[in-house]
Subunit: 482 residues, 2 copies
């Protein structure tokens, strides 16, 4: 891969040394993930290494999510990786959903285990076994817990960052005294944490709604989902929030004495987003030259690129670094003079750093530097004295531009349709919006035959449907999913 | 447990409802871990649940460590949980050290695996397999990587937080061009990250030095260790930094072209600290009434305890909350009026919250509140207008007081000795400092027979020995370890 970058200028059909996105989207995706230094495949099939640049993005995303989760009142905790196999059996739908994907530890400490343990695919079972201990009365409710953890689901068709055998995520688990309260909390997390993070932090507009019974989380009574449209028109499920009703409460005997003193099962929610969001950023914002990052998720917002190893250049670059750091920017100096200027520029372009400030002797003689805006690929001179202000100004526009572009792309590939046949046609390259009654009883089977699915149900105006919405007023958003 | 708390006042021998520390230290430890809400045992033997209060402390400790690790130039990344069994075989000492503790996945996705995978006990092998890909020339060095992760070591005698089958930690892995550089980096992490965090953040004074060959990390050529003295006089290894020499580089063929163009193996380090530090905080600072936290690690620094459900009390408590939050304090309101005042006070005392501000009608009538300092167990009235300043003043003294107390305790239980016999005597309840030559060739065996060990070697003045220090000038610090 690295060698091809040096030949980029001789290969106009491979802009920036990458396969053009329009030619082969999956291949382009793999190349960007590798060349931007986001992730590598691990030695065990389906696992991955999240490299420093990818992990740096994840850390910023974690912080954004964690701040919002805490603002919604949940506290972080940590539950064991290993779950007794018998726990999984307790909720019938849940075990049916996850059994085919489990990794099982049969030997440990040099001996065969009496009861095999599974590596958590999700933590409903083990967490609810503790909720049963911790919850006695209504004053223990609501119990709002979040966990940052790795989980394992053995994938038949792994795809780096999007569908990996092991991934990192947060999973929230809550218990409430009433169904209304649980539903309101599942929706609060959905809107205030997930949709807000996707749109305001990731700059990825999302379609929102609830899943059909077929697509629901194993064990849930309702799953709220936000779905982004990727650069190939396919849908990526970016985050889900579930109402679990009393399913797990019955399975794990999570009872509480209500304020009248009678025993009742708690009402629950669970919700999660994962490192697949790193893949979403690539596929929603990437272009033929690599990744494009919204500044809020850029481990480096501005690179100061010293063009030549000369004292004046070094002095000016150091001064700019100090100024930008003092202004609170995440900034990095590139003084890798042993590499060519072009190669260094391509590196930062691929990584999606929003801004480059090139400091070279010719510009300096004129009291200026060159600013390169990654998402627009524009270059312009900026007077030295005005760099910090211009950096502020440009960075404040990036997320909005990326979101607008993604929204326009999605609008161009979304159509209202009247029949399943039309939905199949539109869904091949985008989203079809079909009135729910037109889906019919065999509609989802027919879609599945065409590798399509209902991504979510929503109201005709695109808003999330409350449970009392007449089903006749719902619209099914149909697309091909990752 | 909860029931006993309510009877505390009738049981003077069980202060605060806990077993007195001096009566049964291990039992007292278990009770504090449970009653402070730090952790619970998990359903699979040896695993644990880190509860919100414990995890909140861990998050603050993580931040403190992570800031220092990043300041030392390392970047975070994430490597897979699953490691092919064959990887472990590559470094002979390493596999010998870890083989008895491995958990092995033999089945996944409903099938038996062709090659079993082990759940990482530490990540040297998998990380170094990537270093071999990423490192080509001297310009790729140093490579400084850190990972926050869970690891699994099947424990025969698990003890909550201290020795658990699964624990959370950070593990750093670095590669350098020269032995000197690797050694300097291992020591930099040791001093600037670990010793600084233990002493300045955890307020636990540590004895520092390097391990004997017998006690070294499996695969290392030198292990630097910091050891704290717990409240029973035993030693807890709180953090280790290893020089790996070229052992793993040879095993994984991590070669680089040096600046003369010839191939050489890299020189490496690895280093880690874990959630056992939560146990260290309990055992180093806890008293008969529970945990005592230095403010830097207290998820809540100040509790505002509203004594009675009256409008004036609520108004004053809310105003204080707002003032303290505005001053940047982590503050929490306790208005659980359905619980008795005593029970609520005991709760916060057990959790080790450094300060309580009690807001009651009688105090308010006099324009004041009552401030309770946890680590001293003192109560004093403070005028309402002076609360924020007094909170600042008191909090600024807590860590120093705790460290002084721990240092005095350690000094009282540390003696210079001249023979192994004397070391055995002193080591039963503290640290013995024995000139290294007096240890003799069978000294470590004799200590092991008494359940003692050399915790570290250091210079006579207590400082860390450089590798060129004459062994005759070294002192062995001997104690009983966790």
């Amino acid at each position: 891969m690295h060698a091809s970058a040096d030949r980029a200028s001789n290969q106009p059909q491979r802009k920036g040394g990458l396969t053009p996105r329009a030619d082969d989207f999956p291949r382009w995706y793999q190349e960007v993930v590798a060349e931007a230094g986001l992730a590598d495949n691990g030695p065990v099939r389906g696992t991955m290494v999240i490299r420093p640049w990818g992990y740096g993005i994840w850390e910023l995303l974690q912080r954004a999510l964690d701040d919002r989760i805490k603002a919604a009142g949940a506290e972080n905790a940590y539950f064991p990786l290993f779950i007794p196999e018998s726990f999984l059996q307790l909720e019938a739908e849940h075990v049916e959903g996850f059994a085919p994907e489990l990794a099982v530890v049969t030997h440990a400490g040099g001996k065969q285990l009496e009861e095999p343990v599974v590596v958590r695919p999700t933590s409903e079972t083990v967490i609810n076994s503790f909720f049963a201990k911790w919850i006695q009365g209504y004053r223990d409710l609501p119990l709002l817990i979040n966990q940052w953890a790795n989980v394992v689901r053995w994938e038949l068709r792994p795809r780096i960052l999007l569908r990996t055998t092991e991934f990192l995520w947060q999973e929230g688990h809550t218990a409430h005294a009433t169904e209304d309260e649980a539903r309101a909390y599942a929706l609060r997390i959905f809107q205030d944490v997930y949709v807000d993070t996707m749109e305001q932090v990731c700059a990825v507009p999302v379609v929102t709604g609830h899943k059909t019974a077929r697509e629901r989380f194993a064990g849930a009574i309702r799953t709220w989902s936000c779905e982004g449209m990727m650069g190939d028109g396919k849908a990526l499920q970016m985050g889900t929030s579930h109402e679990l009703g009393q399913n797990f409460a019955r399975a794990f005997s999570i009872e509480f004495a209500n304020d009248k003193g009678t025993l009742d099962y708690v009402w629950q929610t669970s919700w999660g987003v994962s490192t697949r969001l790193l893949g979403a950023l690539v596929m929603a914002h990437g272009d033929d030259f690599g990744l494009r990052l919204p500044p809020a998720l850029a481990p480096t917002e501005v690179v100061v690129l010293a063009v030549r190893d000369e004292p004046d250049v070094r002095t000016a670059a150091d001064a700019l670094m100090a100024e930008l750091a003092a202004a609170g920017r995440r900034v990095r100096l590139d003084d890798r003079f042993h590499l060519g200027f072009g190669r260094r520029s391509v590196d930062w372009e691929r990584k999606g750093v929003p801004l480059r400030v090139e400091v070279g002797p010719r510009d300096l003689a004129g009291g200026q530097v060159t600013m390169v805006v990654r998402h627009l690929r524009t270059k312009a001179p900026v007077p030295l004295a005005g760099v910090v202000a211009e950096v502020d100004r440009v960075l404040s526009t990036v997320a909005g531009d990326l979101a607008d572009e993604a929204r326009a792309f999605r609008a161009a590939r979304t159509s209202d349709v009247a029949t399943v046949e039309e939905a199949v046609e539109v869904g091949r390259s985008g989203f079809a919006r079909l009135p729910f009654p037109a889906l019919g009883p065999d509609g989802e089977d027919r879609l599945a035959g065409e590798s399509l699915s209902v991504r979510c149900l929503q109201r005709a105006d695109g808003s999330v449907a409350r449970t009392d919405t007449d089903e006749a007023d719902l619209v099914a958003v149909i697309g091909r999913s990752y």
